[in-house]
Symmetry: C2
Subunit: 210 residues, 2 copies
């Protein structure tokens, strides 16, 4: 670099409105944590990504772990909002389940993918206390799932234990971040259909999209 981070920052408007920089730090953190993992991402790398020096990061966050925590916290909020939307929309339980699956896959592969991937797979990088607090936030998200699956079981659409089913589904969906390419030949709707086909008993699978 021929231009220092300091000079670069002067080219932009200094003292940006509100906590815009904080947002940018969280976005960059989500991306870097996803790409390289939490412990392989240094505070210096993160700072460089938004054009400041490493020490300045601690003006916005009190520790590196707090950044990870905040990435997860804000992500879970969005996840819950998105899932609730899918849960409330559909009428028939079959459609509802499809919408839920599709929503989770969207979260995993849409604009929120960095934060969601980090939330799914990097909670073990948190200390015990923060791990517990994140886990309890995720429970609200899981409750939406369990309600839907319980409903599906009562209506005979599923003959497996809702709890176990959800856990298996969590793994199946979460793992897609390691192989599914959103810009590949398999569309997100088609993927959601396949997942649905595995979950639901009869041939009554919602063939909505694609």
């Amino acid at each position: 670099m021929s231009v220092s981070a300091y000079e670069l920052s002067l080219q932009m408007t200094r003292t940006p409105r509100l906590d815009d920089r904080r947002e940018r730090l969280l976005d960059a953190a989500a991306r870097l944590f996803r790409e390289h993992g939490y412990e392989r991402t240094s505070v210096r790398q993160l700072a460089e990504a938004v054009g400041i020096l490493s020490g300045s990061v601690f003006h916005h966050f009190s520790s590196k772990e707090e950044i990870l925590l905040e990435v997860m916290r804000s992500t879970i909020e969005r996840m819950i909002a998105r899932l609730r939307e899918a849960s409330d929309s559909g009428a028939a339980i079959e459609e509802k389940l499809f919408n839920l699956i599709r929503a989770e896959l969207e979260l995993l592969h849409g604009p929120t993918r960095d934060g969601v991937a980090v939330t799914f797979f990097q909670w073990h990088s948190l200390g015990q206390d923060n791990q517990r607090s994140i886990l309890s936030m995720r429970e609200d998200y899981e409750k939406i799932w369990l309600n839907a699956l319980e409903q599906a079981r009562k209506q005979g659409l599923i003959d497996t234990d809702p709890f176990v089913t959800r856990r298996l589904l969590t793994g199946a969906n979460g793992w897609t971040i390691y192989w599914y390419k959103a810009d590949g030949p398999l569309g997100l709707d088609a993927l959601a259909s396949q997942v649905c086909q595995l979950m639901l008993k009869p041939a009554s699978v919602a063939e909505s999209g694609v």
Copy 2:
């Protein structure tokens, strides 16, 4: 500790037969990597776990990454052997699929669980080259799966794409390490049955165990 690592090592038989210490290092590494993750496990911790000093580790391995690589390599060998056993044994394709699922769950929760968990979830801690080499080893393992699933599809037991199905199954099974307790109320056979029930189309699920 009131007794130094050195004194401790003198209490044991020095210069143990063959590469027994190497084995012990790999075992300890698998356990520590699984429990705390690769980058959160220091060479010093690993050394202490087997009663030597950190520098001595590099008499057995040329780098920390080589230890991870070796853990994965030896694990994949065992995984392939175990899966091939399951694949060759069963006659009917239904039983075969059940055996494969049960074998993978056994690998994930039996004595090999540390290495298997590390192999499943920590390949991103390897450098690019080693990542590729491990990935190519895993392909042999996946081939066994794909063969079985393709066979199942031909016989109408499955109506989803074998490749996609396997990926989803990988996630579902792998994720069990985060929630399934082998000493809990749900037996391994029961779990395998539930997974089978999700995979296979009709009620023709093998209800062998539990």
